[in-house]
Every structure is written in structure tokens, then in C-alpha cells.
């Protein structure tokens, strides 16, 4: 625990004592607010709910911004050689991984916290459902941390932040896209019979089951389900575990 905390502290310093975290938070705020007010037709909306006007855009933002925060986690260690220092300290690899992951998540949490004007506005305009807003934030946080966890895994493979960014964005894009309502709709409407029908159903099932968008979307809509929790917990743990495997096998 203590070791996680020490690594966490150092990484948080690396984010917040350099412009990195502020640039990220600034970009996230600009984009999420403008999407909310311009495309979400936030002010014209009938109800005071935020799921379609605000949270719905977050997976698309985190698809790029998650990798942007996470790309330095291990690729920087690989490039500078500091991984040799870190991993010869009396700490375990998983402690280092979790410390780093949590630090990146803190940047995400700070960014989400800075969106509080949106909450103030809906409260001013109407009488929003507090539980739904909470679950929306939870969903957004989970989608964001999932993309950071995936980026953490990718960054363990490479010493180049750029490669890590590009690969992670592509992977996250894919994971968001397969659950987008448009794609699911398309899959549902393909006319097919026999084997193709089974394939179509399987694809639908997989797309829905693995997408950050579908699982996040449920939370945005205020639906708290066990399988959503299991999905995010499993996704993040898998990515972090795989990171340790990659880090170990790279040196073997």
C-alpha cells in the first residue's frame, strides 16, 4: 500500500508540476462544454437530464484523451531507462503499475470535477435527478479509466509515446465504436438467415458486451447493473495484469 502511494505521489507530481495535466483538463473542459452546449442542445432540452446532452460525448473524448494522459506511463520509463531504477527498488511491479494508473486517473477525476458548472446550470434550470447525475459521472470515470488502463498496457510495449498514442487511440476508437447506437442499429437490421443469422447475433452480442460505449451508456442513463460493474472491473484488471506480464517478458 505504502509503495503504491509513493509511486502515485511521484506520478501525480509529474502530471501536475508540468503543464501536462492542465493542458489535458483544459482541452477536456473546452470540448465537453462545447459539445454539450452546441450539439447537445443543452439549453433547449426539455428535461433536466444530462445523459444525452453531456455524458454521451465522453466516450468519444476519452478515446483520444485517455491515451493522451496514459501514453507516458511506461513508454517514458522505457525511453529514459528509469524502469531499471524503478524495478530494482524493493517494490513489486504491480505496485508500480497501480500507482501509475491511479495517478493518471486522478487527472481524469480532476477534469470531471471541473465540469461542475454544468451541474449548477441544470440545477438552476430544473430539478435534476441527483442519482442519475452521479451514475453519469461514475460511467464517465469508468470509461475514462478503462481507456487509461488500455493505454497503460500499450505503453509497456514501446519506448515511443507517439506510437503508444496512435495505437491506443485506434484501439479505444474501436472499443467505443462497436457499441455506438448507430453500429448496433445497423447490426440489428442486417437481414440474414441460417449461419449468417447466428454470426450476426454473435457479433451483436460481442459488440455490445465489449464496448465501452454500451456499458458506459447504461450508467449515463442511470442504470446501475452488476454486469456493468463486472465488465469495467474485469477490463481494467485485465489491462493492468497484462501490463505486468509485458513488462516482465520484455526483459526475459
Amino acid at each position: 500500500m505504502k509503495n503504491i502511494w509513493v509511486v502515485f505521489k511521484r506520478e501525480v507530481q509529474a502530471y501536475f508540476l508540468t503543464p501536462l495535466a492542465y493542458v489535458f483538463i483544459f482541452i477536456f473542459l473546452i470540448l465537453s462544454m462545447s459539445l454539450c452546449f452546441v450539439f447537445g442542445r443543452f439549453l433547449e432540452g426539455e428535461d433536466a437530464s444530462l445523459d444525452y446532452t453531456f455524458f454521451q460525448f465522453h466516450p468519444w473524448l476519452f478515446m483520444v484523451l485517455g491515451p493522451a494522459i496514459g501514453m507516458r506511463l511506461w513508454s517514458e520509463e522505457n525511453r529514459e531507462g528509469t524502469i531499471e531504477l524503478l524495478l530494482t527498488m524493493p517494490i513489486s511491479t504491480w505496485q508500480a503499475i497501480i500507482g501509475k494508473f491511479l495517478a493518471a486517473c486522478l487527472v481524469l477525476v480532476s477534469a470531471l470535477a471541473m465540469t461542475f458548472p454544468v451541474i449548477l446550470t441544470v440545477n438552476y434550470l430544473g430539478d435534476p435527478d441527483g442519482g442519475k447525475i452521479f451514475s453519469g459521472y461514475l460511467g464517465s470515470l469508468l470509461v475514462g479509466s478503462a481507456s487509461i488502463a488500455l493505454t497503460c498496457l500499450v505503453s509497456a510495449f514501446t519506448r515511443s509515446q507517439v506510437i503508444c498514442l496512435v495505437v491506443s487511440v485506434v484501439l479505444c476508437f474501436f472499443l467505443v465504436l462497436i457499441g455506438s447506437p448507430q453500429l448496433l442499429e445497423f447490426l440489428r437490421n442486417i437481414p440474414a438467415t441460417g449461419l449468417l443469422e447466428t454470426l450476426r447475433l454473435a457479433a451483436l452480442e460481442i459488440a455490445d458486451g465489449f464496448s465501452l460505449m454500451s456499458h458506459g451508456g447504461r450508467l449515463f442513463g442511470g442504470v446501475l447493473r452488476l454486469d456493468t460493474a463486472v465488465f469495467f472491473a474485469a477490463f481494467i484488471s485485465f489491462c493492468l495484469y497484462a501490463t505486468s506480464v509485458v513488462i516482465r517478458s520484455k526483459r526475459a
Binding site: 505504502k2 509503495n3 509513493v6 509511486v7 511521484r10 507530481q13 509529474a14 508540476l17 508540468t18 529514459e80 531507462g81 528509469t82 524502469i83 531499471e84 531504477l85 524495478l87 530494482t88 527498488m89 524493493p90 517494490i91 513489486s92 516482465r248 526483459r251 526475459a252
Partner: protein, 316 residues
């Protein structure tokens, strides 16, 4: 303190470290020598637990680095090759971070960091950001990191690389001082350094240990070690040469200069006579024949010579 047993490391088709065994006791300073790519850094990385060995075991202070890595690593201070650092930190915050990872907190941390800064002469740059430091200062900061927790074992990969002559001297003194109470392994390409600080040296070539001994023992392995350089006047060179060859403990004689009444050359002793016996015989010979002995010097052997001979021999 450190036991390395039949250690090997395979990188794809390349056997970088090939069945190395040695042990280092407390109070020993072991120098690691060898040509570029010999496997010195790879061996050190396995000892510090950074890379797992393909075969073999390493124990540090009784703890197997594979089976009990945390306990073993806690005993080690390590300076990796090229002295990597987190360049977004300052010297002080970096040292505080490494001390904290070593479990040193509060007031103890403050004094440990200050002491390391003092020992490595970093006072002037303590608050400077690491990415603005010069190479030597970066190296010293990383060295400070390795001693901040006063470890029992120090593994230093080229600790004097990139330092100015004064600092090289300081680091040598430091290693010697620490070596009295700790176990130190350090690698270097500077052979004088080995003579100056090591109590023992190991030469590695192509992944194998090709020599292991005290610097004096190793020096004596040079082919010229024990050879007696002479300069004798008073007889034709060829005559002196044939007389020298007849000496009981001489094996061969190498001529450097030979004239009407001068001979300069080197007399090589038999294996049993690398002490002063041969020199004595030469003196007696010259005195007996009333020759003028102008020079008589026993070659101590030189490390660089021995190093070249040993590492070239392996090649062929």
C-alpha cells in the same frame, strides 16, 4: 554476501552471459572488467533483479533475488549504466523519492538525502531540475540515489563514466571507503581504477569469466611479468646474449639493442622464478665477468597488457 551460481542469460540466439559463478564477501570491492559487449551490465542487471536469468541463481545477503526479490533488493544500492533519472524532478525531490521507496521517511529521510547530497558533492545543484544538469552531475545524482539508504551491497555500473578527473578520484575514494564495510561490485574500463580500489577483479569476455584474482595476481599473469630488463656493457652483444640464455632460470631472451660492447634486452624467467631469482643470477653473471650492469629491472606486469592478452586469446 553475494553468491552468483552458474548464471546464464540468453538473448534470442545470443548467449550474453555464459555460466558465470563467483561470490563476493563483505568488505570486498570486486572490479568487473571486460571488453564492450562482454556481458558485464547484463550480469549486474541479473544480480539486481532487473532481468531474470535464463539459468542459474543469485543470492544477496541470503535472499534469492528470484524467490525473495523484495528482501534482496532492499539490501542493494544500484547505479545502472547511463545513470537514468526522472528528468521532471529536481535533485532533491528525486533523492527523496528514492529514499521513500526504500522506506525511509520523515526526519530520517531528510538527513539521509542531505548526507547523500553531501557525499556526492551535489549541494550546488540540489534544487536544480534534473533535465538541466550536466552529464557528470546527472551521474553523481544517480550515484547518490544508490547510497541514500546506506545499503549493504553496492552494484555500480561504470560509476566514474563521464566524471572529471577530480570527481573520478572522489568516487574512487568513496568506493574504497564504502568497500571497507560493504560489499561492492563495480564495472569499469579504466584499469588504473582497478589497481587503485579493487581488492579483487574479474575479467569477463564473451559472457565467460576468463580471469579472477587480486589485481597483483592478475598483473603477474601478463607475459612480461617477472621478465628482467637489462642493459649490459663490456662485451659484444651476441656474446652477452648467449651467456644470458644459459642462466639456470632463464627461458628465453629478447633483444632490444645489441652492439659492439652493449646489450639491451629482456630475460624471461622460468615459471618457478618470477620472484627475484633471475635478477640475482644476472647480477652475479655480470659481476663475475666484470661487466658493467647499467640497468636491471624486474617487470611487475601490467594490467592492460594482461587484459589485452587474455581477451584476445579468447577470440582466437
Amino acid at each position: 554476501m553475494i553468491e552468483v551460481i552458474r548464471l546464464s542469460k540468453q538473448f534470442g540466439p545470443k548467449l550474453a552471459v555464459d555460466n558465470i559463478s563467483f561470490s563476493v564477501a563483505k568488505g570486498e570491492v570486486l572490479g568487473f572488467l571486460g571488453p564492450n559487449g562482454a556481458g558485464k551490465s547484463t550480469t549486474m542487471r541479473m544480480i539486481t533483479g532487473f532481468i531474470p536469468p535464463t539459468r542459474g541463481t543469485v543470492t544477496v545477503g541470503g535472499h534469492d533475488i528470484q524467490k525473495a526479490p523484495i528482501q534482496a533488493k532492499a539490501k542493494i544500492g544500484y547505479l545502472p549504466e547511463n545513470a537514468p533519472l526522472y528528468s521532471d524532478m529536481t535533485v532533491e525531490s528525486f533523492l527523496r523519492f528514492t529514499a521513500e521507496l526504500r522506506g525511509i521517511t520523515g526526519a530520517a529521510q531528510k538527513s539521509a538525502v542531505n548526507k547523500a547530497i553531501e557525499i556526492c558533492f551535489l549541494e550546488k545543484v540540489a534544487r536544480q531540475s534534473l533535465d538541466t544538469l550536466s552529464k557528470g552531475f546527472r551521474h553523481r545524482t544517480c550515484l547518490a540515489q544508490s547510497i541514500v539508504h546506506d545499503p549493504e551491497v553496492l552494484i555500480l555500473d561504470e560509476p566514474t563514466d563521464g566524471l572529471d578527473p577530480n570527481q573520478k578520484q572522489e568516487v574512487r575514494n568513496l568506493i574504497r571507503r564504502l568497500g571497507a564495510t560493504k560489499t561492492v561490485i563495480f564495472s569499469t574500463h579504466i584499469l588504473e581504477e582497478v589497481e587503485a580500489v579493487c581488492s579483487r577483479a574479474i575479467i569477463i569476455d564473451q559472457g565467460k569469466v576468463v580471469a579472477d584474482g587480486t589485481p597483483d595476481e592478475l598483473k603477474r599473469r601478463a607475459s612480461r611479468a617477472g621478465a628482467v630488463k637489462v642493459r649490459i656493457r663490456g662485451l659484444a652483444g651476441s656474446g652477452i646474449l648467449s651467456e644470458l640464455e644459459k642462466l639456470p632460470h632463464a627461458v628465453s631472451v629478447e633483444t632490444i639493442e645489441s652492439g659492439d660492447s652493449l646489450f639491451v634486452g629482456r630475460v624471461f624467467p622460468k615459471k618457478s622464478a618470477i620472484d627475484g631469482t633471475l635478477a640475482g643470477e644476472i647480477y652475479q653473471f655480470a659481476a663475475g665477468r666484470q661487466l658493467q650492469l647499467q640497468e636491471l629491472a624486474v617487470d611487475e606486469g601490467r594490467l592492460d597488457e594482461m587484459f589485452r592478452e587474455i581477451t584476445v586469446q579468447v577470440r582466437s
